[in-house]
């Protein structure tokens, strides 16, 4: 009896209710018998190292036949006792070796290297960070050793963060049609290159969709302006012009006007107004409308 099996049986005696080691302890056909006796040719056996670690999935498979030669308890909990079966069948539910198999990264000219990759298992739907390496196995052959750490929670957190970042970008650049041929886009917060790109894209798409001739770009809520932000604005203005629409910058606060002048940014070709109302007037002129103050007109007539 090998040392491995003894240890398993010992465990079984301590915890009879546990299903641990069940299949693996029973004598079985040739490949499995060999597996039980094996382990890396030097150092402590794999089972002693990895059996009790619950957070990390560990398995060893043959690179030629894809047979599973060893796996720890964490593996068994997710994929069952599958000693001697093909790794692609058990882990991926496939009929043939996985097209993304990492064996080429750890055998051949990459022998001795550790290959690290992230991957979502199709059966458990969980994400793993996998570390693969070729190991010496009794009998002089090299085998594939994989250690996989469950990073599902991390991935989910990342996903949430990315979704939130996208949401912020979307929320921060609304493009609102306010009249036939006129849209308003209020800029809020800071304008980095990522947001500027999404602003330009959204704005141009909406202008084309709504066939708007005038865009009122309101910069009241813009946190700060520097040469880069100004360049983004100028690029957006140029792109909108190419489309055949016109941009009016509104909400020019004193601070922004001062900064733009001090930075030496020339906006002389662009219509700018201090208030949204001023911009609206230009917009209405452009689309051939007029705002009439009825009260004042009546007063004059009276």
């Amino acid at each position: 009896m090998s040392k491995n099996t003894e240890k398993r049986e010992g465990k079984k005696a301590e915890k009879p209710q546990s299903k641990r080691g069940g299949g693996r302890a029973t004598p079985s056909p040739a490949p499995q018998a060999e597996a039980r006796e094996s382990g890396p040719s030097q150092g402590p056996p794999l089972s002693a190292l990895f059996d009790d670690i619950e957070e990390v999935v560990v398995y060893v498979s043959d690179p030629e036949t894809y047979e599973l030669l060893y796996f720890n308890d964490a593996f068994e909990q997710s994929w069952g006792n599958a000693l001697g079966e093909q790794c692609y069948k058990v882990l991926q539910g496939r009929d043939a070796p996985c097209p993304f198999c990492s064996n080429p990264h750890i055998f051949g000219e990459n022998l001795g290297r550790t290959y690290s990759w992230e991957f979502q298992n199709e059966i458990t739907r969980r994400w793993y960070r996998c570390l693969d390496k070729a190991l010496d196995w009794p009998g002089g052959r090299k085998v594939r050793f994989e250690m996989a750490i469950d990073i599902t929670q991390l991935k989910e957190a990342e996903e949430v963060m990315r979704a939130q970042a996208d949401e912020i970008i979307e929320l921060s650049t609304p493009v609102i049609p306010i009249w036939r041929g006129v849209v308003v886009a209020p800029l809020i917060g800071s304008l980095d290159s990522r947001r500027a790109a999404s602003l330009a894209e959204d704005l141009l798409t909406r202008v084309a969709e709504t066939q708007s001739q005038v865009v009122l770009l309101d910069v009241t809520g813009l946190a700060a302006i520097d040469t880069q932000v100004a360049q983004h604005l100028i690029d957006t203005i140029t792109a909108v012009r190419l489309l055949g629409a016109r941009i009016v910058l509104t909400g020019m606060r004193p601070a922004i006007a001062q900064t733009l002048t001090h930075l030496g940014i020339d906006l002389s070709g662009v219509a700018t107004r201090s208030s949204l109302a001023g911009g609206l007037q230009i917009a209405f002129q452009e689309v051939g409308m007029r705002i009439v103050d009825e009260k004042a007109e009546k007063g004059r007539r009276a």
Partner: protein, 119 residues
Amino acid sequence: MAAEALSVIKVRDMLLVTVPPDPDDETITALQDRVLEAMERHAPKGLILDITTVESLDSFFARTIAETTQMVALMGGLTVIAGMRPAVAITTTQLGLTLGSTLAALDVDMAMDLLANHD
């Protein structure tokens, strides 16, 4: 794209040119020749370049448009490009391409308005 397939149509006192989706340099050059010929024959008020179907605009095309605008202006006409796609406008700006004094309109309809109201 065969240059013969280009359509340069005279509508009232304007020229309407529909640019094919993916014009090569030869087509673009041919387009300029055809436009200038038509300018001479009809002496229209202006030229509308409908680029609604155009998916990409390179530096050669941009320069030719700018030059054609200048040439048409010398012959007494205004040039308006109509219907540039948002994605094309963004790339054009990113590449730093300019179309000189060419006017732009959202579609052919508005381009016609623009030419009609221009004196």
